[in-house]
């Protein structure tokens, strides 16, 4: 039982937090700009490598580099939108999806040119787990930090969306863009804020993944499928649905490798992403609006 919590549930929640941070951006962009952003995984990679640059330049620990990376990545996300997505906004949205495919590749190749293709890490070394509840629960300090900071970011996002004028405008635009425009909401500013939030949270997810494992140029691209599954599971346009979706998918992927039947893992770890795909397919068949009544386009 304890082994289950320590080696399956906690890693599942950590992975789920990382998925959730990316899926929030995906679901908000899908809700507000109405396109599936295929560059989002690579925006996470971008955030992780920006933090790596800060770590290398100033010798800071990765957690201290996080806020700087989030701000820089948010700025880069707004710039990418200006350069590559905004000019296409008047046409069919699917063209923007194609452009986002290209952006994904461009981000990755810039990283490969600057940092090379080798695996990087923020600080090499081994962390000793801390013991909670008389030593029965073992948890790595970095896992604790990741989950705590993610929870803090979610709380901040919740307050922003419910208490500020801009947050309300964003929700209004996600519900009905025509009506939002008619009521005098500055849709251009809403878009900029969406990219700031999406890009910043994506960077946080990327940095956490880098802290938890390693940095590779493909790290973000490989998250794309589970993050889309999380966004659809939670319902498109619902940031907190995406959080739930991310946690569910992260846990499902880890728990699927638990030896539920017999001695071996139920599912070979190499097939983890098949779990996300299976959930995605079930949702698309059974309930494309997601668990929390999101939108379907």
């Amino acid at each position: 039982m304890l082994e289950f919590v320590n080696f399956y549930l906690i890693p599942g929640l950590v992975l789920g937090s990382i998925y959730a941070l990316g899926a929030i951006g995906i679901t908000m962009l899908f809700g507000i700009l109405r396109f599936a952003h295929f560059g989002h995984g690579d925006m996470m990679t971008m955030g992780a490598y920006v933090a790596l640059a800060v770590v290398l330049a100033f010798g800071l620990p990765a957690m201290w580099a996080l806020p700087i990376a989030m701000v820089l990545a948010a700025g880069l996300a707004v710039g990418i939108d200006r350069l590559f997505y905004k000019p296409l906004r008047s046409g069919p949205t699917i063209v923007v999806v194609i452009a986002s495919f290209g952006v994904a590749l461009m981000i990755r190749s810039v990283i490969q040119v600057v940092f090379g293709v080798d695996v990087e890490s923020y600080q090499p070394g081994f962390q000793r787990p801390v013991f909670l509840f008389d030593g029965s629960i073992r948890i790595l300090p970095r896992h604790l930090t990741i989950m705590a900071v993610t929870a803090g970011l979610m709380l901040a996002l919740h307050l922003f969306l419910t208490r500020t004028k801009m947050g309300k405008a964003m929700r209004a635009m996600s519900d009905d863009p025509e009506l939002a425009r008619a009521t005098g909401i500055d849709t251009g500013r809403v878009v900029v804020y969406t990219w700031i939030i999406g890009g910043g949270l994506a960077a946080a997810g990327g940095v956490f993944l880098g802290i938890d494992t390693q940095l590779t140029p493909m790290m973000g691209w490989n998250l794309l499928l589970p993050m889309f599954a999380a966004a659809i599971l939670g319902g498109i346009g619902k940031p907190f649905g995406a959080v739930v979706g991310g946690l569910v998918i992260g846990c499902a992927e880890e728990l699927a490798t638990y030896p539920w039947l017999g001695d071996g893992p139920l599912l070979e770890p190499s097939y983890k992403s098949a779990v996300a795909f299976a959930i995605l397919v079930i949702m698309l068949i059974w309930r494309p609006t997601g668990l929390f009544k999101g939108r379907v386009f």
Partner: protein, 328 residues
Amino acid sequence: METVALGLLLYVVALLTMGGIYAVLALGLNVQWGFTGLFNAGIAGFFAIGAYTSAILTTLPADHSDRVFGAELPLPLAWLLAMLTSGLIAVGIGKICLRLRSDYLAIGTIGIAEILRLFFKNEAAVSNGARGIPQLPKPFEHLPQPWEQLAFLALVIVIVAVLYVALERALNSPWGRMMKAIRENERAAAAMGKNIERRRLEAFVLGAMIMGLGGALMAHSFKFIGPEATEPLMTTFLVWVMLIAGGSGNNRGAIIGAVGIWAIWSLTEIMTSGLPPEWAVRASYIRIFLIGLLLQIVLQRFPGGLFPERSAVLVQADRSKRAPAAAE
């Protein structure tokens, strides 16, 4: 001197062969995206299923290989079965995703490509795992150089030509016009009693079958298929750039785009391979960046591509202009 000329000839032949195989893939994508507006982000998956099906059906497992299954079917039959398998997968994913907007199909196809990649990487009993399947038979391989390569190129050209003629006919048939009608205005087409989901599925499956054929051709051209061949970059992205640059909706554009982009891709590789090793690796990523940038420029400045699709109204006007002249 003669060896230089021969080397040059072989290079040009190889360039055109690969360009031709990419043209097959681009024609497949054109059926899905150009004719019907279906966004397939998992070309690599359909490519892989075609390549592996054909590879498994034409070679027996070698000694010490992890592979269990294998057969020695004649190539044309194996290629046909490769197309069928690819089509079957497309039926499955299409039935799930085609009810929803194109973005969902993109997500679904990315998923299927990823699952297929994992499957071929891990299931050594089927695919021989990371080591891949070597020594595939290649048509005309008993001929002496350069006739072997020339004959294979001729075969590829014939396949592209047959596909081109068939697809042009399909596009100008009632079926093709119906497809365009659905793409342009789904509701109006539905109001005219067209079965939209069914037609979309037809186009999606047809395109996937052509992509499967492209995969099989590629595998036999290299005489090898391994899991790295299904990386999303080389196949999915390159084929998208080819079709968009050439002109989506236009079969001629798809073919010219495929050969043109492949020529740029492959010639720049020669230029960067002369650099010192530490620069050569970086330069290869700069090439990828530039291909991405090229896509953005085409999307923003030349949305129709090099050879934009000719609208049905213009084609009709041309015809009626020509018709009286012929009557005189």
